[in-house]
Homo-oligomer: 263 residues x 4
């Protein structure tokens, strides 16, 4: 595939002060073993990887954190499994003491079955963490009002879900995502719900700045191949967004293009 | 983007006896000029390009056919603009006399407004052409019965539309495409209707062997960038198909996966 | 529910010379017994019922035909189970000899698994039947070109499917139905694929003249209640079509309405 | 349409202690004049009508409240136009002093453009109002966590939106509505976003207890006819829900039904 050498790079972007090429952020859970995890991370092309603090034995010598190459990847600790603002804040304070990171993914879960976010508690926790100097990337509903509030209190990005965590259902409500993207002055990263490469491409075509995923790669039959698919899907979607797609028409001879209109 | 060197190649495929790497076939119409056409073809990575015989002055010295690099691209002449089996057959006979190609895209249009295919006339023309030794790739409806008949009379592939030509509406009825793919013993190439990179990825994820498009690239604001987006979208979709996507679930804790079920 | 007395009647319509109030046509297969069939027909409010000739012992004394009240219902014999034009034509000639009806539902199936129509054979059979004086209502694909041809040879209506027979998947491609409705000068009746009351309403809102269904009623847990649901769903959809729905907008303050545009 | 006499009544339901037959709640804004409003209310069959307190001159003698027949309709005052919990609570206290109603629709808007709810402020206001003895029906996002919290603090129902107020976009995310319905122990009423009769039917088929709408009726070309369409669409959807729809299958011969699975 020699033609790949000619691929125009998609535009770089900035997240929390970092310059990034890759628009794909990946999780580290649910893999068979360390080897598979490392190979999937490499294939994904991700520059940021997220780690669930509650699933790591922070005091063990040989844990996930020890073998992730931190020269290559920016570590984004997250608070998966926390159900209150307090729990999430305490978890992150501990991580800071252990020197892990100041840029964090805040996740306050509202329900152990659906793993949907508790936006009310997320707002409380985000405010506390920002006051303590953390750089906060919050997981939240695809709710333009919640995203605006999170931005107003100083979050470095907003990370609305596309569908429930681990569902693989894809972009359930593109309309709300569009409203969020139009209003936001910080990066918008779709977090959770993507199931396959075209879902990732759709998110980018809507104008999202990035996509965060874990299960869609780790639970594919061939995770390494899917990591590659996701890397290319993200690039394809971003290039299509930048290229400016053709108008939708009822047929080639229809007089009124319908691009950008409600579906 | 150094990680691209590690991209696992998607599987190659065979179409009408040719071994192909690229699963994207592109048209040559609607570009600004020859330079843009050439650049878009190159960026698309296509190995086969289709040319509307009726839009080329076959006797002129400096026509589209003269400047397409036929060492690089397999030329696939098509019968766009033909409304009867007779017209299509006569057009292709003329092309054969001029030495253009024996592998042809058969297109018999049913209606000048929607440009939808006339499947009945397409069947008639396909039979005549195959009897005369042509290798026929027919544009047709996403109709499993029509596709089965076209295969039975000896077509080298079937090319159902995703949506009307020039509409950019994407895959309108994935269910019918799935039925076609399940039943077919020849390659299934989505022809017409794709609008953006995620549409191309969806077609590949459904299990199509390839995608043919023209307007989606030529009518983008930046056709070269969109050609790149399509190339990557096709690769992403194929890799995702080969990787085997995660099951769809209502949420991570749902007991029954729903992959492969009706949407 | 006294307010029902004030329901404005939806407009009546004409099918094959008959004036009809009900826009719901129902099948007679798949019910538990004759009692359930009769009750479901009554609850549906249908004025036309269709009967599969191949499933009736035409010579038996006590068959379906004997107990359908033909003062109340117009009988529409159909050729379900026929796979060629010849079979369908022979079946209908026999029915005519037995005095059943001259208005017939033509169904030529292309595939025993999907039960999708063979449009090519349907065109052949329709022509033969019309030449012999039958009034033909053909089951066909949601293909505007096929529908135009069926109208041109003299069919009294066209009956495109919404989804495969017995699937209950609802309107799979509203866009094609819209193209058919815009072009047709005969009634357009959605035949097959409806699964629930909202599907029937959607068909009517698109501008269809009627809906024909069987499994959606007979295979509901409570067929009588579902027959009522379908009757009301058809009325609701027709009234909404006649009322002229509000424009779709991104939100109340959006400047451009998007009604009628491509979804 | 004599068959309507046989319509089996859909089950009655209870909302805030009232027994209701109609599952349609309608707004009173955006009509041409009082006559049209009255005719639309009558045609809708609604038993509860909602009135925006901020749009009524509560001290005027001849206002909306004066001519709504309160023997026929239960009045549901709402706080449309309020942007904080405080505003909403103060507005409702005033209405109580004027003797309007103790059962109220709480609406705290987050954004003047999209009119999406501010769920955080809605929770604050709901708590205050319930403490003061109001019966609270809150407008909120289609967010299962927010709905659970509103139920926990004592709301008499939850009223998630289907799409933005005045958009007519229909049910944007049926999956979230299903999660809400499964978890709720109070009635679930879809509030806002319905555009036509089939949208209302879909809401009922998902298992919602009722639907509240205004623009879809008032902004139709013929509001009275659309009010009738909505009345029948709600009944059709409820009957279909109670009847238990057929399974969805890929086609009639598919072995695995797919009803209830993710779309």
């Amino acid at each position: 595939m020699t033609e790949q050498r000619d691929t125009p790079p998609t535009s770089t972007w900035k997240l929390a002060g970092r310059d990034l090429s890759s628009r794909l952020i990946v999780g580290t859970g649910k893999y068979e073993d360390a080897e598979e995890t490392k190979a999937a991370l490499a294939a994904s092309g991700a520059e940021i990887v997220t780690v669930a603090l509650r699933r790591v034995d922070l005091k063990a010598k040989d844990n996930l954190l020890s073998w992730i190459d931190r020269d290559r990847y920016t570590l984004l600790p997250n608070t998966a499994g926390c159900y209150t603002a307090d729990e999430a804040v305490r978890t992150l304070r501990l991580a800071r003491e252990l020197g892990i990171a100041d840029i964090v993914k805040l996740e306050v879960i509202g329900d152990p079955t659906t793993l949907l976010p508790d936006n009310e508690q997320t707002l409380v926790a985000a405010k506390m963490l920002i006051d303590e100097g953390f750089t906060v990337l919050p997981y939240c509903s695809a709710d333009p009002i919640v995203c605006r509030k999170l931005e107003e209190i100083g979050c470095a990005a907003v990370m609305p879900l596309a569908a429930p965590i681990g569902s693989g259902l894809g972009i359930r409500d593109p309309h709300n995502l569009e409203l969020i993207i139009e209003a936001a002055n910080v990066p918008v990263i779709v977090d959770a719900g993507v199931g396959t490469a075209s879902d990732a491409a759709v998110a980018m075509e809507l104008g999202c700045d990035g996509v965060l995923m874990n299960t869609a790669i780790a639970a594919a039959k061939d995770p390494i191949k899917m990591a590659n698919a996701m890397r290319l899907g993200i690039q394809a979607g971003r290039l299509a967004f930048e290229a400016g797609r053709m108008p939708k028409r009822r047929h080639a001879h229809a007089s009124s293009p319908t691009i950008g209109l409600i579906e």
